[in-house]
Amino acid sequence: MAKAAETATDVLPDADTARRLFRTMALIRRFEERTEEQYTRARIGGYCHLAIGEEASTVGAIDALTEGDCLYASYRDHGTALAVGSPPEAVMAELFGKETGVAHGRGGSMHLLDVPRRFFGGWGIVGAHLPIATGTALALVYRDQPHAVLCQFGDGAVETGSFHEALNLAAIWDLPIVFQIINNQYGMGTSVEQSSAEPELWRRAAAYRMHGERVDGNDVLAVREAAGRLLEQARSERRPALLETVTYRFRGHSVADAGKVYRSAEEIESWRRRDPITRFGLFCTDRGLLNAEEIEQIWADVAAEVKEAIDGALAAAFPNPDTLYEHVYGDPSWREQFARMRAGAPFGERGEERTWQT
């Protein structure tokens, strides 16, 4: 039996907020479960990393963003896209490789994005998006915009050189960015204890004279409160921060990993008892924010929404192979610039008509 949140019970949300948070987490859960199923039906290719169990860390922080803030995420980004409000059908369509996907089928599972909603991507190389997010924070300051960047990544990213370089630059340049470690305790199959000389990852902040903080990442309100406070500090004082939200992925690293070789059944079970959605549901019913019928209705609604997303994405068209070369370059003069590169180029690169099968 899950316990209601302990750390943030003093931050009582209003009923609308509670409903929104619960609904978004439920949507992600159902979406990811159906995604796993779609993968086994071979409708999704490549890597596929599910965020089941990590919903509170994702949703709590993203809910604290305000208009104009920017968001970066790792490759475990399906929930990120849903949390910023990207249409589930466009997200599923991307996983299916369809033209109607958020990246028009060019990016797939790891490279979701939604530029109008200021979500600048899921990124595939561990740790490498931290400097890029830092540059976006620099651009906000350069243009004197009162916004902040939220940069989410996993515990594995903390061991990369880019983590150090990005945090150092953010600190010496006083950039408005919150680095959020979504610590699910394993980088693939390697535990934090095994990877990190300081397993309390938030303590790394001290090396940059930056505020560091660890919260229960399965408590959506605790995450939301901490992220909100640190983002506001970033916006108003232009101070970066490091926020560690401790959570757990119920599934393996990717759908290809059962996640059982390097973790005990007892450990997985102990975290299942701390399921962030069940826990928040109990909290909401305890406090009279949502009743059991409402919760049931939300689950039914999100299930229908995901079904609709799958149906819509299935019906959508794949990209036309004739568009293969679109978006490599974007300058208006690129075709003219490359016009004389076709001469003597390898077969297939000379602008030939495609006479071969794909």
């Binding site: 990016g107 530029v115 600048f120 490498a128 620099l138 906000l140 010496i172």
Partner: protein
């Protein structure tokens, strides 16, 4: 037209673009108070201040990444990497990120970033500071790679690079910074990418080169000319996009092709051009295409060894004479 050094031409281009567009800013190690390791940015920090001429710590991966993130927001960062050798610690940002973002994100966001960096060798800087790696980058779709050989092109192409919406690697050369040449006064003088230049006309063979090797090739052409051999010299100017048509046009006229470069020829710029010339000029060639580049060793320190490793005029000349001999011409 005013005569100025390659360095001054770059500085003027940066100055013009900083003045023209408030979204342009510079970032790099020692580019402010120190005026740049090779003094390209001298005076700009005083003129534009520390926000637009941003000094960075030794964090190439960090600040190339930051340049990408700022460019994704629509700014136009010009990042200086002290020498091309140091870009290797940031390869992931250049190849996995800058080059792929627009495509990977379905065309929804671009990266109008310029990375300026000098390659080249010749000052006993040894193995880790004497490389010409531009060919590696030129093989990567999503990037543009240019390497002008003269001050006028350095000026015009740097302006084109800054105004371009795609990531551009702008390759300079350590030895070339003090080379002087005329530069147009027009602040809107730009030189398009993907257009090679015939910088010397000739009839007997074509020497194709880029960056500082173009100047070596011109000196070789002068030497050959004393023996009645007229070499045509084609300056590629830009490696990606590549202008293979101008090269082919020249080779069709001279029937012989020598590709010279400062980097290693194996898997290099010369390898790519040789393949294209064979395809485009198969019936026009009087001899197999020849390639000449730096010796395929890590650059040694000792002066006689370094000279032996560089593709100096004497080596290019020997390659040219060998190519002519292959088709029965001796001089």
């Amino acid at each position: 037209m005013a005569d100025m050094t390659y360095r001054e031409a770059l500085r003027r281009a940066l100055d013009d673009e900083l003045a023209r567009d408030p979204d342009v800013f510079l970032m790099g190690e020692e580019i402010g108070r120190f005026e740049g390791s090779y003094k390209v940015t001298a005076g700009l920090w005083e003129k534009y201040g520390p926000v637009r001429v941003r000094e960075t710590p030794i964090s190439e991966e960090g600040f190339i990444g930051a340049g990408i993130g700022a460019a994704m927001m629509g700014l136009r960062p010009v990042v200086e990497i002290m020498t091309i050798n140091f870009i290797l610690v940031a390869m992931d940002q250049v190849i996995n990120h800058a080059a792929k973002i627009r495509y990977m994100f379905g065309g929804t966001v671009g990266v109008p970033l310029v990375i300026r960096t000098p390659g080249g060798a010749g000052a006993q800087l040894t193995a880790q500071h004497s490389q010409s790696l531009e060919g590696w980058f030129a093989g990567c779709p999503g990037l543009k790679v240019v390497a002008p050989a003269f001050p006028a092109d350095a000026y015009g192409m740097l302006k084109t690079a800054i105004r371009d919406n795609d990531p551009v690697l702008f390759v300079e050369n350590l030895v070339m910074y003090n080379v002087t040449g005329p530069v147009p006064d027009d602040p809107d003088h730009t030189v398009p990418f993907g257009s090679a230049a015939v910088v010397r006309e000739g009839t007997d063979l074509t020497i194709v080169a880029h960056s500082y090797t173009v100047q070596r090739a011109l000196r070789v052409a002068d030497i050959l000319s004393r023996d009645g051999i007229e070499a045509e010299v084609v300056d590629l100017r830009s490696l990606r996009p590549l202008d293979a048509e101008t090269v082919a046009e020249s080779v069709r006229k001279t029937n012989r092709a020598l590709i010279a470069e400062e980097g290693w020829s194996t898997y290099g710029v010369g390898a790519e051009l040789a393949a294209r010339i064979h395809r485009l000029c198969f019936d026009d060639l009087d001899a197999p295409v020849e390639r000449v580049g730096g010796a395929e060793v890590p650059m040694p320190y000792s002066k006689p060894l370094e000279l032996a490793a560089l593709p100096l005029e004497s080596k290019i000349e020997a390659a040219a004479r060998g190519l002519l001999a292959d088709s029965g011409i001796t001089a």
